[in-house]
Symmetry: C2
Subunit: 698 residues, 2 copies
């Protein structure tokens, strides 16, 4: 009964799925566009936000284009082997693949911004008619982003492999996507938290005016930040994980297939395409009742997508010749663990659960206790995810090991592909958050009635809850992806060693001091990287706070809210932009340069250890920062809902300090670490040929 | 010219050195005792402190005796192999060695308490006569502790090996010392920070009364805490590293010597004994001029000790047959790196350096920025030490690898022994801190004149500066020690595998998913462990704050300082004691139990990974916590010295929040992690025989 297919059919199927997702995304985009946008205040403010976001994106992309151009040139000269030693054509392919990767990533970010800045005002207006239509506008706005990102990544990977037919070049493409994501995430993250933190600090804390009050000069910058940080940055981040997981799986699959046909490569594409299809169906089916619960609606559609994915891939595995149930099992394990990590993360950050409430209670004794308890629970919260990733890797490995040599690592890479299969849906849920957050702000600034603001609030709170879950999911996926990238790295190293006529590596032994050296250095990189980003926000916010204070002091009537007096929103946006652009390069560059130095000093074994150390401490710190940030945010909101003395109490003041500390944790440093790990892994794989030949002590 | 010595001579030399150190310690103790103690107020308060400390120690040791008894029983039944399978005599030896280890550790703590609680009041009185005599009393008090600790550990290790002649039993002895240290450190750390944090919170922050004000009901508990946490706990911690480094080196040396005589075992003892001798000389030569700088005096004596050590060991290496210059080189590298780590740590925590000042400046914008910048620099500060440890391990390995198989790992273990050689001096410097801190408090409470308090302040500030350096040193030493424990673990595993007729392990390959599983789980343990301790302090301090507030509200005239009205100091001491005892067991037990579970689930390979993960994240988190805690403390003091608005300014309030967060970081969690890593490594080595035979997937 099994169908015998060849690669061309699978490529065609991949392209077809991409086409479907783009068509559906286009339909949803125009559906969002045709929703009502009539309120003049809102249109005016929304235009401010749109133009602010576009200014930032334009400036950021200009800077990154120069950076990417330089890197592309370096790639052309040196990778995969120096141009004077290998073939110039292959180097050219690699450089072009890199550029395509950066373009795809930039495109995904840009699409996200366009749709999010259109959907926010329309969601706000729809909220006047009830939660049902408002939810749909917000969600469909996010869905455009989700479909576009996953469509772009599948299209890119398929095109590169179909045209060039060499998975090593795919690593170049993936590096392009990741390196842009790294800087976009860092830049956007710094922008958004600069604006958010300083707006809160002067507005809420010093002057006691409400969030999103139009008198606050930083309020527009804050809304712009939601779009450039959370929408564009997060999209680039998940695009990067998605592409990297496919690239790693394909590198391993290709090395397995060289003996046995192309079943494994076909399987990677089929599973990825079916994941996109499942997301399309899941998105199309998302609905909410008139009195419905938006959190439940978002979660339900994620579960539906997962179920559809498992059924579709099971069918494909049963029908297509050469597809293995063991691999399907690995993908299923990955997906299941992703969901479990999401749920445990939720336990630590949901305000109906005990942890958030404990931190709120500790806030009664002062901010030091808010911080201490939040940091402690943040550290504890890392354990379930670490153990979950460990168990899924172990399970996938053991499931697939009996298939023959090399299949164990392929199993792990397919667990990552499985976990990321529903990423279209995940991005849709995640992008929904900043859209409704913006909508809430617009409703406030537009002077809408209380019921509308309450609806907007409810939508916003669902966005926050779901965000914690999707973040846990993203970190889990990154964890599995980088493990398989470690496998891809070893495959690349051994290919290079074989070409150089050197003995192959059997693995990376912890007792080898070169490996150990790499591990210790690698482990300190994410710590320094995240610290640099946080210090960037810190410096930038200090400047911004000074500017906001200046405006309140110098602009007559602003503080009192005299009609007609508007703050200079532009100045704040400019300040956040300039600052973010200044801070976004150093941290990412540090991570890349340390990798290269370790490689040329210690050689391929040191880099193996380096990647391991980087993954371990990166996962730990990323979980710690994302979760403690999330739980401070929610314990502040919990207090604002009237618990522990409510707004204005000492506990609330302490919780605001916690939230301010948590902001750059959860929205700047934490999620950037994922990308940092991926970038470093890809740099290592791409340069493995050089490290194998040139190194001081290797 | 080379002398040919045998083991008996070396053992005799070891015992002789121990005797010298004990004699000198006794002399110093009586010298301290005979210093003036005449002021009645001070004597009364000092007696309070002494009796509080003794109460805590008695209760703590009672609890730990029960715990140690249970563990000894388990050891007798199961280790090194189940009593019904192996030889009961060997199990008995192991259990007895374990008990001796716990006794030695408890003894070191007790000696420290006795001398510190005598030296504090005498230092305070000596301060009336100038900085020179006061420094000497404080320093010599600390020196008694240093000499006692190192003497005890050398005596114990020599006795165990001379009597039983089996280095595996030495691991049992070391485990005894470490397990007691783990709980003593955790218990003392929780006690001291409970008292410190809550005394500051109610006294300084809420009521605005000075530190060490006798009206504060927690002030005695705070002083007791300095003794039980910093003196006894720290002594147990360094004793544990010292014993573990010798045990690891001896296990490896014995496996090398089985072929070639006993030169390596002799070398370990000779170097350790010469280190103690160097410390004796260094301590005897410590002086300060009339207007001298106490920080410089402390540092100078540490450098002198290092130089003497290098000269003495070089002489021994030149004179004694079979001693190798390569091994000497490894020890010298270890010592040099220890000093370098101390110096870089100092850069991050010294208030004359830019980092502390930057954090102080950030405090102007509010406590959130104090926290954010402190956490960031704390993370960055981990890098130099990580890289330093990595480089010293690599250098020691490469220096000794040419000597033959197994010598590379021996080199690393001798680097650890070298780094810890001057530990007697280090402990003396470290114990000086809490003594002069107490003395400062006593001078304040005794109503001494301003000049005396200024002198006490200067001595105290030197204690803080030196403490940061010695902490960096302790962490570096623990890092190298646990690397060599990893080597000892592998030696034990292969012995067990050989006995069971199973194939030997070549190493721990990162690409092996069982190892990887262990790494991920191991990496999350120090995070959870430190979080549990911090939450313990948190809970305990909340109770204490309530009690202090109650006393200020209920005891008439206390707030106003009416003559004759004294707070109920006892209640606070009891509260801190009960709380600390309740919180001290769970965290340590968690670390041990997870180790055992991972071992029985994943077997010896998983444990190899587990230890690695534990070391990596443990070193990272320990550095992060110790250094950020130190820099918050000093940036608060920097502001109090009049910078950034001085005492009472907004920056100061923010800095106090930072200091409160930093307290349990630097004095509870951070330094306990060292011990946690050592304990886990020793449990793994001791149980390796069981894991090799019984495991679910191993």
């Amino acid at each position: 009964m099994a169908m015998e297919l060849n690669l061309s059919v699978i490529y065609a199927f991949s392209f077809l799925t991409t086409a479907i997702s783009f068509l559906f995304a286009t339909y949803l985009f125009f559906w969002v566009k045709k929703q009502k946008a009539t309120n003049e205040t809102i249109i005016r403010i929304s235009d401010y936000i749109k133009s602010g976001a576009n200014t930032f994106i334009r400036k950021e992309y200009t800077l990154l284009a120069i950076f990417a151009g330089c890197v592309a040139l370096l790639i052309f000269v040196f990778l995969p082997s120096p141009v004077w030693m290998g073939s110039p054509l292959r180097n050219l392919e690699m450089a072009l693949a890199y550029i395509c990767g950066t373009i795809i990533s930039a495109l995904a970010g840009k699409i996200g911004i366009v749709v999010a800045t259109s959907a926010n005002s329309r969601t706000a207006e729809a909220a006047r008619e009830g939660i049902k239509p408002a939810f749909l506008v917000g969600f469909r706005g996010g869905a455009v982003m989700g479909l576009a990102v996953v469509g772009c990544s599948l299209l890119g990977v398929t095109a590169v492999l179909a045209l060039i037919g060499d998975s090593t070049v795919l690593l170049g493409f993936s590096f392009g996507a990741s390196s842009l994501a790294l800087f976009a995430k860092a830049g956007g993250g710094i922008f958004t938290k600069t604006a958010d933190v300083s707006a809160d600090l002067v507005g809420k804390v010093e002057l006691g005016i409400p969030e999103d009050d139009p008198r606050n000069p930083a309020v527009i910058a804050d809304n712009v930040g939601d779009n450039v940080g959370d929408v564009a940055g997060m999209g680039a981040d998940l695009l990067d994980s998605n592409v990297a997981s496919m690239a790693a799986a394909l590198v391993i699959a290709e090395s397995l297939d060289s003996a046995t046909g192309s079943a494994n490569v076909m399987m990677v594409f089929t599973y990825a395409a079916l994941g996109l299809l499942a997301s399309v169906i899941g998105i199309a089916s998302a609905r909410i009742g008139k009195k419905g619960n938006p959190t439940r609606a978002l979660n339900t559609s994620a579960y539906i997508t997962s179920a559809i994915y498992l059924v579709l891939t099971a069918a494909a595995t049963a029908l297509i010749k050469g597809f293995s149930w063991r691999i399907w099992g690995a993908a299923a394990v990955g997906l299941a663990v992703g969901v479990i990590i999401g749920i445990t993360t939720n336990y630590f950050t949901d305000d109906t659960k005990p942890i958030v409430q404990k931190v709120a209670r500790a806030s009664n004794t002062g901010p030091a206790f808010t911080i201490l308890s939040g940091i402690s629970y943040g550290f504890i919260s890392a354990m379930p995810a670490m153990v979950g990733i460990a168990i899924s890797a172990l399970a996938a490995y053991n499931l697939c090991a009996p298939m023959g040599e090399g299949y164990a690592m392929f199993g792990i890479s397919m667990a990552a592909v499985g976990m990321l299969s529903i990423v279209g849906m995940i991005i849709a849920n995640d992008a929904y958050g900043p859209i409704v957050d913006n909508a809430r702000g617009l409703a406030e600034m537009g002077g809408f009635d209380e019921e509308t603001i309450r609806i907007a609030d409810e939508l916003d709170s669902a966005g926050n809850t779901v965000k914690a879950v999707t973040k846990g999911f993203a970190i889990g996926a990154a964890g599995l992806t980088v493990i398989s990238l470690l496998g891809a790295y070893m495959a690349e190293v051994n290919q290079a060693l074989a070409e150089a006529g050197k003995p192959l590596l059997a693995g990376f032994d912890v007792m080898d001091p070169t490996v150990f050296f790499g591990i210790l250095v690698g482990a300190s990189v994410p710590a320094v990287f995240s610290a640099m980003l946080i210090l960037g926000v810190d410096r930038n916010a200090q400047r911004m706070v000074a500017e906001i204070r200046r405006q309140f002091n110098e602009i007559v009537g602003l503080r009192e809210g005299k009609p007609g007096v508007v703050p200079e929103y532009d100045k704040c946006i400019d300040l956040a932009t300039t600052g973010a652009l200044r801070e976004l390069i150093p941290a990412g560059l540090m991570a890349i340069i340390v990798t290269i130095v370790v490689g040329f000093v210690g050689g391929v074994s040191a880099i193996g250890g380096f990647l391991l150390g980087n993954i371990i401490s990166g996962l730990l710190i990323a979980q710690f920062m994302s979760n403690s940030g999330g739980l401070w945010d929610n314990s502040k909101k919990y207090i604002e809902s009237g618990e522990e003395g409510g707004k204005g109490s000492d506990a609330h003041k302490a919780a605001v300090v916690g939230d301010t500390v948590g902001d750059p944790f959860k929205d700047t440093a934490g999620p950037s670490i994922n990308t940092q790990i991926t970038v470093v892994s890809l740099v290592a794989s791409l340069m493995s040929g050089l490290f194998a030949v040139f190194s001081l002590f290797g």
